[in-house]
């Protein structure tokens, strides 16, 4: 091994390999031209011993000589130098959303978008790898909005606000809250499951799904806390309600699950939550319904945005969406739908009293709620690519359980 060029001399001073000298040595080796050597000088106590051991492990040729009180090490990069990064592939041309590819390879795995992926990384098995299936315009804005809208149940809800309503109204509210908790549990599981099966290349989609799941976790918390403020037991969970929700959980197709959960179910829930906000018997409940309705509206916006985009680019989507609604309707034909206790509880809450005239007004309010839900579903179905008459008919087939 001959002498190194003057420019290839690295002075370590007292820095040893037990204190990070390898960082500077690697940096200097990376700057060598092919065939060049590096001369390392230093005076750390075990520099020669450690340098030889390090070079051996790295596959470099090393010659070492004491030079007075210091040491001189000549290093020639071994054949393996830099070999790990030959044949690397970029997981997209950059980190930004403009670099999202149409189909993300499984071999990119968990790598950050735009990262250099070592060849030979394991193949993953993410179920959802197509941009067409997943992507929406302005995902970043939706995510930022979701982040900015997070709220803390401990401070955002006036838990100690006075209650002036009677026990029967409270029982009606607990019935509705029990139903909401069950539905929000389904709304947590569905995005959580997809967050784990969407290719991480589409990180904005994962982020939105994750925050959606976190929203639902918070909703479950506040509904439960409100329901148990005055009652130690919750209301009913019906077979028909669970059958309806199970069809959501069981849907493996991302587009169809988005349609059924977000566009139709959570869309209907936005109406329901604003209804409960309007007719809440106390300030605590009113605040909860407003906060949760705002969260749900974002979930609906994401579902509509990505299905609208997909529908524009894939004409086969609309018939598939229609078929999914019909299929779910058929599957639930034999079930009871919304349980009678919840339906009646909504009337009682809207009535606010048990006078015949109040009940009539409450009933009318619930009829109006159903009309608003239907209108909302119809509009959103049109946004995701269905024709007006089709949207009208399909909205009517939506589960009587609302979600």
């Amino acid at each position: 091994m001959g002498a190194a060029r003057a420019s290839n001399v690295l002075e370590l001073g007292e820095l040893g390999f037990d204190s990070g000298a390898h960082v500077l040595v690697k940096r200097a080796l990376a700057r060598l031209a092919p065939g060049e050597q590096l001369e390392v000088r230093g005076s750390a106590a075990e520099l020669g011993i450690h340098a030889a051991a390090w070079a051996r492990a790295e596959g470099h040729d090393a010659e070492f000589a004491p030079a007075g009180a210091a040491y001189v090490l000549r290093l020639a990069p071994g054949a393996a130098h830099g070999a790990r990064w030959r044949g690397v592939e970029r997981a997209g041309a950059g980190a930004g959303p403009e670099h999202v590819v149409e189909r993300a390879p499984q071999g990119w795995g968990l790598a950050a978008r735009g990262a250099a992926v070592e060849a030979g990384a394991p193949e993953f098995d993410f179920a959802h790898t197509n941009k067409l299936e997943l992507w929406a315009d302005d995902l970043g804005a939706l995510y930022r909005q979701a982040l900015a809208s997070q709220w803390d149940p401990a401070t955002a809800v006036p838990w100690n606000a006075p209650h002036t309503h009677g026990d029967e109204l409270e029982d009606a509210l607990v019935s509705v809250l029990t139903y909401l908790i069950e539905n929000e549990t389904a709304a947590l599981i569905v995005p959580a499951r997809f967050a784990a099966s969407v290719h991480p290349h589409f990180r904005e989609v994962q982020q939105l799904l994750a925050i959606q799941a976190a929203d639902e976790a918070r909703h479950i918390e506040v509904f439960t806390r409100r329901a148990t403020l005055r009652r130690s037991q919750l209301g009913l969970s019906t077979a028909g309600g669970q059958a309806s929700l199970k069809t959501l959980i069981d849907e493996p197709d991302f587009a169809l699950a988005s349609l059924l959960l977000s566009v139709l179910g959570e869309g209907s829930f936005v109406n329901l939550l604003w209804f409960l906000h309007e007719h809440a018997p106390d300030e605590c409940t009113r605040a909860i319904m407003k906060l949760t309705a705002q969260d749900e509206a974002r979930h609906v916006a994401f579902g509509v945005a990505h299905l609208a985009r997909q529908s524009r680019e894939d004409t086969s989507l609309a018939p598939r969406l229609a078929a999914a609604i019909e299929r779910r309707h058929d599957a639930l034909r034999g079930t009871a739908g919304l349980n009678a206790e919840v339906f009646d509880a909504l009337i009682v809450l809207a009535a606010g009293a048990f006078e015949p005239a109040s009940i009539a007004a409450g009933h009318q309010a619930v009829v109006e709620l159903l009309r608003q839900m239907h209108a909302g579903r119809r509009n959103r179905l049109r946004l995701v690519g269905l024709q007006p008459e089709q949207a009208e008919a399909l909205s009517a087939l939506h589960t009587r359980n609302f979600m």
């Binding site: 075990e46 011993i49 071994g78 070592e118």
Partner: protein
């Protein structure tokens, strides 16, 4: 034997299984049928090698000396066909605490030296040979405290060296033996705080493991095995994980010039006598 090349290796750690499974898959992709047999200790492996249980042994340096000496006594021959680049030119260190009054190996007289497992070339036999050449006999001039982790595995398990280093820092021994690379590892781990130790002595260079074959091994099969080993490139993503697990950047020829220190130690301490009795070649 059939046309399957069978390797013997010692299971010094659970990672041995994925390593040889990986080699098996890669050799199969290259058209070489390969299988392996694991032993819990090198003595059984050498014994079974002579019994014809497999073709190639992945031997520790001490197992190599055992195989080579046994072969010589039987009128047979053993050959090292390949080794890792990282098996070449190791040294061992005798390390003291930085504030120790010991300044030279002669100062070890009357003191306690922490070694690795009794059958560890790198942390026991070779350092003791180094001291013997300087005129210091173990248990006569200084006490030896062995940190016998997994005897039979010839120190492949680094636990003995680690325990000796820990005992050094806790003041239980006056000096400790370890491979040069492990001194760096222990320093970077914080087991040996920076500046807290001093190297009292460094042995001459020696070599470590090799693939050993005995006379009578099927030549074409061995040649194919070696050709494939030497074709492994660190830039090949299919084999790089195997090379990382096995701790090498390239395979080298199996030279035998690096075992003289260990052979001297075996002779001086009559270390192989009981093994020769076991092999009935005493």
């Amino acid at each position: 034997m059939s046309e399957t090349l069978v390797l013997g290796a010692v299971a010094y750690d659970a990672k041995v299984v994925p390593i040889w499974d990986g080699f098996q898959r890669w050799f199969a992709s290259q058209g070489l049928a390969f299988d392996y047999v694991l032993y819990s200790n090198y003595e059984r492996q050498v014994e079974q090698h002579f019994a014809g249980a497999f073709h190639v042994a992945w031997n520790s340096p001490l197992a190599w000396v055992q195989a080579q000496r046994t072969a010589a006594r039987l009128g047979r021959s053993a050959r090292a066909v390949a080794m890792r680049d990282t098996d070449r030119d190791l040294t061992s260190l005798i390390v003291v605490r930085a504030d120790s009054p010991l300044r030279s190996v002669a100062d070890l007289r009357g003191r306690t030296l922490g070694c690795g497992a009794g059958d560890s070339p790198q942390a026991t036999l070779i350092p003791l040979e180094h001291l013997a050449r300087a005129g210091l006999a173990p248990e006569r001039d200084f006490a030896v405290r062995r940190f016998d982790v997994l005897v039979g595995k010839h120190g492949d398990h680094v636990g003995g060296e680690r325990d000796a280093a820990r005992a050094l820092m806790q003041g239980e021994v006056d000096a400790a033996c370890m491979i040069d690379g492990n001194h760096l590892v222990f320093s970077n781990e914080g087991l040996l705080a920076r500046g807290a130790t001093r190297v009292l002595a460094q042995t001459d260079k020696y070599d470590h493991c090799n693939f050993t074959v005995l006379d009578g091994a099927p030549p074409a099969l061995i040649e194919r095995f070696c050709t494939l080993l030497f074709s492994m490139g660190y830039d090949d993503p299919r084999v790089r994980p195997l090379m990382d697990m096995e701790g090498l950047k390239r395979w080298c020829d199996g030279r035998t010039s690096g075992y003289a220190l260990l052979e001297s130690a075996c002779d001086r301490f009559r270390y192989l006598d009981s093994f020769f009795e076991r092999m009935k070649v005493a």
